[in-house]
């Protein structure tokens, strides 16, 4: 009997189609479809399916199979999965035969350091910390890439945060970030030195330049990763990210093309210790593009309330509801947000009261957020609000009503009067963060 597809489970990822050695599978209208005439029951598709939508036995037969497991002597059954030892053999062999792009050697983990308007994005250093682990798991070197104008002080920092080698392109053309010269610079370095993995923060800049680089290199890119790992057998980079509005997590592989590229959300990886005085090899290259060749000019930069601008990408959010009672009390939560470097948000009620603008609103008719930490102050937790924030990693709620709906989704619920609780929280956070910044 050919492979059976459970259409309710199929997510249409196509893994089975690629895997099938006899081309018996195809995607039709987004779900896997089996050509029974071609299917040779190899079962290779069953093992790769991420959602367990494929099976070699008809559904109705499944309960009977379970019973067998429970007791009766087993007879040889060709449809059963291979014994583990055989599976492992198949896997390691597959890994050996996986071709590297161009047949060349691709080696090293690279972190692209984000430096723009005189600021270094902290996510760059977080990635050096994470990159260390990946490089160790593979057994290769960890490098930083710095592109910009007058970046010598950045090089020192990159070594301090753990880079073994730093590639530098220092050119006035790279003064302000623009896609074309930056993509050209990074692509040139990659082509010349062939790293296996390159990572960058999932910031406005990373999400702009990395797709351009991946397109030029014709390789795969996984955006907004929250977990990275190395498969111990294949040494492939396992790139895990939220998908479908944070409703599921997906682990993505780039099996055959190189380099493997990811952007990583800021503040999900731990910041490594800074060690003064470390150094290493510096490799300098020339920028290939001249100003005349660049089609874009930056006319003006208007520093602004950076935080509310990217509410949906914020990593710490302090949100306020009608429990705050009046507009002038907002200073309480503003101070709390400042102490954490957090972004301020609010409920629909607060917007309708005219205390804050609509671009701060979280929930069904506002923005859906998924920060690492969501602190809800004086928010009762109407379902319309919860759907916009319930997938946050940690939720801390302050409310004086023990029955408040927000407590049902909170990791920590503080039952108390917010006018007493919030100033204490602010003071406590300030105390602990006086020598640094949050996350």
């Amino acid at each position: 009997m050919p492979v059976v597809v459970d259409k309710t489970k199929c997510i249409g990822c196509g893994a089975c189609v690629v895997e099938c050695p006899v081309e018996a599978l195809d995607l039709v209208d987004g779900t896997a479809t089996v050509d029974p005439a071609k299917c040779k029951e190899t079962g290779s598709c069953v093992t790769v399916c991420p959602s367990n939508a494929l099976s070699l036995e008809a559904k109705a037969a499944a309960p009977a199979a379970k019973k067998e497991d429970a007791g009766a002597a087993k007879e040889f059954n060709a449809k059963e999965p291979l014994p583990k030892a055989v599976q492992d053999y198949a896997k390691t062999n597959a890994a050996k035969s996986a071709p590297a792009a161009g047949g060349d050697v691709w080696s090293g983990v690279w972190i692209i350091v984000e430096y723009n308007h005189g600021r270094i994005a902290p996510v760059s250093w977080e990635l050096l910390g994470e990159g260390r682990k990946l490089a160790d798991a593979i057994g290769c070197e960890l490098c930083a890439v710095i592109t910009g104008s007058q970046v010598d002080h950045v090089i020192t920092e990159a070594f301090a945060y753990g880079a073994e080698k730093v590639y530098v392109i220092d050119d006035p053309v790279l003064e302000n970030f623009r896609t074309e010269p930056y993509a050209e610079a990074i692509t040139g370095l990659v082509r010349k030195y062939q790293p296996e993995i390159i990572l960058m923060g999932a910031t406005a800049m990373g999400r702009d330049v990395f797709p351009a680089v991946a397109t030029r290199l014709r390789t795969g890119l996984t955006a907004d990763c929250t977990v990275l790992g190395i498969d111990p057998e294949t040494k492939l980079l396992q790139q895990t990210r939220p998908a479908f509005g944070g409703n599921i997590m997906a682990t993505i592989l780039c099996r055959t093309r190189r380099p493997q590229m990811s952007t990583v959300r800021p503040r999900v990886m731990a910041m490594p210790a800074r060690v003064e005085g470390r150094s290493g090899e510096i490799v300098r290259e020339q920028q290939a593009m001249t100003e005349e060749e660049i089609r874009t000019k930056v006319l003006e930069f208007i520093p602004g309330d950076a935080k509310s601008i990217f509410l949906d990408k914020a990593e710490i959010i302090v949100a306020v509801g009608l429990g705050i009672a009046s507009q002038k009390n907002l200073t309480l939560v503003e101070e709390l947000a400042d102490s954490l470097g957090a972004t301020l948000a609010c409920t629909r009620g607060v917007v309708e009261a005219g205390w804050m603008s609509h671009d701060h609103q979280v929930g069904q008719t506002g923005v859906t957020v998924r920060p690492k930490v969501y602190i809800a102050v004086g928010i009762s937790g109407a379902i319309q609000h919860l759907v916009g924030m319930e997938t946050s990693d940690y939720i801390i709620a302050v409310n004086n009503d023990p029955e408040a709906g927000i407590f049902r989704v909170a990791n920590y619920g503080i039952l108390g009067d917010l006018f007493q609780v919030v100033p204490l929280l602010t003071a406590e956070f300030k105390k602990r963060l006086q020598h640094g910044v949050a996350n």
């Binding site: 397109t215 599921i248 920590y412 609780v421 020598h435």
Partner: protein
């Protein structure tokens, strides 16, 4: 001037849920909508056409059912809509999708030269924000992402205000260019009844893989370097602990903050030299 808008029909992700028992997506009954960012991209293209004269062409890749999204898009007042639909396109990741769209846009460009391609900043079902830049690179157009305002436009250039970390940036690009659009760029129109009626009977052009010079190795599953190896529900929250701060408020808060730092919910970053973005 000629404006092309790339538009995607997506499941309304606010209604997608995962079945906790089987780890599978529950897609049944989830309505399909026009990707919200793409709607704003379309709105901007139409406003610019109304100001500058010219034409708006919509192009979309998807199953035949995506025709409905294109019809709806036509009611905004676009001039032409093309649906790229082929079984060979299925399973494309963002690299392959950008390829498929690019080849089609090149054909459109050959028919009538394009000044600006608009896309949404990202699609809400994938959130990758890669297809727009991918198209810009392949076409060799200037790329302006996260656009929030078109400040100025003439026959040769466009000036756009865009969101970046830390503020807004005003950038000017020579045409042709590709702009990805945030929701703030404009307010969507409420189509007039005559436009609704025109759209209701509009038949989008359907292009399949054979109608264009596609290299099959670059599209669909074969042309997609990335593949999903596993899906699973997001990690559930650990506790749900209620801390009573009604009596000893100070003690309770100190206690909580201690936990928050111990569990690495909030981490201390040493102050970074050169400031932080």
């Amino acid at each position: 001037m000629h404006f092309v808008v790339c538009l995607k029909q997506v499941p309304d992700t606010s209604e997608v849920r995962i079945d906790p028992n089987t780890n599978t997506l529950m897609r049944e009954g989830v309505p399909s909508i026009i990707n919200p960012y793409d709607a704003h991209a379309l709105e901007e293209a139409i406003r610019l056409r109304d100001k500058m004269g010219g034409k708006v062409t919509i192009v979309s890749m998807g199953p035949p059912q995506a025709k409905e999204a294109l019809r709806k898009a036509m009611s905004f007042g676009a001039d032409r809509a093309i649906l790229l639909t082929d079984r060979g396109f299925a399973g494309s990741d963002s690299l392959a999708t950008a390829y498929i769209l690019t080849v089609a846009i090149q054909k459109i460009h050959a028919q009538e030269p394009i000044d600006i391609v608009f896309t949404g900043k990202e699609a809400i079902d994938g959130d990758t924000a890669q297809t727009g830049p991918g198209i810009a690179q392949r076409l060799g157009f200037a790329q302006l992402t996260y656009g929030i305002k078109v400040r100025d436009i003439d026959k040769a250039s466009v000036t756009v205000e865009r969101k970046t970390e830390g503020g807004r940036e005003v950038a000017k690009a020579l045409l042709p260019a590709l702009i990805t659009v945030e929701k703030e760029m404009n307010d969507l129109r409420y189509a007039t009844l005559p436009d609704m009626m025109k759209a209701a009977v509009y038949e989008p052009e359907m292009w399949d893989a054979k109608s264009l010079p596609y290299d099959t190795a670059e599209m669909g599953l074969k042309g997609s370097p990335t593949s999903v190896s596993r899906i699973f529900p997001p990690p559930g929250r650990s506790g749900g602990e209620i801390i009573d701060a009604t009596t000893d408020t100070k003690g309770a808060i100190a206690n909580l903050v201690e936990k928050v730092f111990q569990e690495n919910i909030i981490m201390v970053h040493p102050a970074v030299k050169g400031g932080r973005a």
